[in-house]
Amino acid sequence: MRLEQTSLPGDILLVKLAGPLDIAGAGEIETPFSVISGHNSKVIINLADVTFLASIGIRVLVKAARAIGSRKGRLIVFGPTDEARRVLRSTGIDTIIPVVADEQAAIAECSK
């Protein structure tokens, strides 16, 4: 699992994930995500290159969204594959973490 961070204007942090977000991938990003969610209030996550999404990956996203939300911040995900979007929808996570099509939409959503 690869994780890249890019700071964008407006204090937005772009996090790009690549690879399978299975139990191994989730284990690799859990600590970085804990740090990210503890230090940033506007986070957008690019899921376009996440090749597989299991529930354990969802848990990481939910924990991060809650931590950021507790400081009135926002976590937005964008660009999931059709299959990843299906998992997000099935678990109901898209009701607490906005899922949008692309980076521009994510930035706009994050700035609301």
Binding site: D22, A54, S55, V62, S90, G92, I96
Partner: protein, 139 residues
């Protein structure tokens, strides 16, 4: 009818990655449909993750085997392990779960129940025998 393929795993995260590589290759070799392959892969991953997290706390030499059958319209996996008794069919999602505050668990079994067309479970000889079939009929 295709012959079954089988893989033996230690219950660790890296072994799940090894399983996924093996499974993807089998599906590619057989030309398994994308949705069927995705459904079964997700179900197996959820079972393995659950077993790794909770199933082997009191097991001295834990192991899991996964046997898959990939047919054109139906795929299945039989997952056998020597962990704690667990019949996921009787697991119920917490009522009134609040995603914003509650423990963010239980998604995996809910996903299995959604994606699987049939789930069979048996416990014998101190082993869990779980068979999951997917025929793509679920949303």
């Amino acid at each position: 009818m295709r012959a079954a393929d089988r893989i033996s795993l230690s219950p660790t995260a890296s072994e799940v990655s090894r399983f996924n590589t093996w499974f993807d290759q089998k599906c590619a070799d057989r030309g398994t449909g994308k949705t069927l392959a995705a459904d079964l892969k997700l179900c197996i991953n959820e079972v393995l993750a659950n077993a790794i997290s909770y199933g082997f706390k009191n097991t001295a030499n834990p192991w899991v085997t996964v046997r898959i059958k990939l047919d054109k319209r139906r795929v299945s996996a039989t997952i056998i392990d020597n962990g704690t008794y667990f019949d996921l069919r009787v697991w119920q999602a917490p009522k009134d779960r609040d995603l914003t505050t509650g423990e963010p668990g239980g998604f995996g079994i809910a996903l299995i129940k959604e994606r699987a067309s049939r789930i069979h479970y048996q416990r014998f000889c101190g082993r869990n025998h779980l068979k999951i079939e997917c025929d793509g009929a679920n949303p």
